[in-house]
Symmetry: C2
Subunit: 193 residues, 2 copies
């Protein structure tokens, strides 16, 4: 029962913050969307900042759930998996009108300078995301699908950045063009063996 | 006199919004920082949104002023200019502790979904920025400094995205590592002839 309420607050807050930003989302909005009184909120979370930190883990879990079918598909090569991860994320953005963007990238931009606890947690989330891509790139290198001298770690940092930037531009163009450019430049140029 | 006051409001607001975001900056903060009464603000700007739109042009002018010495240096090749633009931006970020980031990229992330006038103006600013890089890349291609089959427009879109994403990560790592990775992957891989 308690865990259910807590989860309901997180899900309602995650939706609002993803849509309109953290500072732009009032506690009042979160309470209204989750249908809990203020006292309940403070039973589960020390303050709005602590709540925001928990959203980072929630968003990370969402990303892992999204890519799990790809990672468990034995028919895909490492490079095909990498491509499929971006394709499925693209499809998810298309389904919401190319709005919102990456919730982790958004918070990094918004909160990186404003809150040390946010900065620490977002750094961990970005490192995990980068590690995920670095592992795929190292496997693709083993399989001879990308240049043999590719630095998987460095390339992963670059890909995560380029993807986050492409998503920012997608929020402006409101179409998939920046994401398609990301795919072409990444797969036909950067990672081309 | 009037133009001076207007400029003072823009400069004070540009500083605040760059540091802490648009929605997170109240009109009250802008009035306090610029030392003008509320009536003065509304004499020059219809509302806070209209004021924010003007900041975009102000930030664009700041970028042009930053890169002007590079573009007017006849001793630099097109590719050397491209590199110098990123180097000078890196130095500017380093000087402010790797905080704040690109004011245009920040607003695109924050306001792209929330305001149609912001979205339109930010789209124009991103297109101008991309055009600037596309022209440099086309010149570098003429000079044989980048691959002969490089699509300068597409590569420019990708570079602007990758740079914006690298800056987001810089706000988290609070060091130059993501920017250095951008440079290595861009100049040693992507643009390597």
């Amino acid at each position: 029962m308690g865990e259910e309420t807590r989860q309901r607050i997180i899900e309602a807050g995650a939706e609002l913050v993803h849509r309109q930003g953290f500072n732009n989302t009032g506690l009042k909005d979160i309470l209204k969307a989750s249908g809990v009184p203020k006292g309940s909120f403070y039973f589960y979370f020390a303050n709005k900042e602590a709540f925001g930190i928990e959203l980072i883990e929630h968003y990370g879990a969402g990303f892992r759930a999204l890519v799990q079918p790809i990672m468990q598909n034995p028919g895909l090569s490492p490079l095909a998996r990498l491509r499929a991860v971006f394709d499925i994320a693209h499809a998810a953005f298309a389904a919401q009108g190319y709005a919102r963007g990456c919730p982790i990238g958004n918070l990094a931009q918004e909160m990186g300078d404003l809150s040390e606890p946010f900065r620490t947690s977002l750094g961990e989330a970005l490192d995990r995301m980068t590690g995920f891509f670095a592992a795929l790139l190292a496997q693709a290198r083993e399989a001879g699908e990308v240049p043999a001298d590719l630095d998987a770690e460095e390339a992963a940092v670059f890909l995560v950045s380029a993807w986050h930037g492409a998503i920012i531009r997608m929020k402006i163009t409101k179409d998939g063009a920046p994401l398609r450019t990301f795919m072409t430049q990444t797969f036909d140029r950067l990672l081309h063996p």
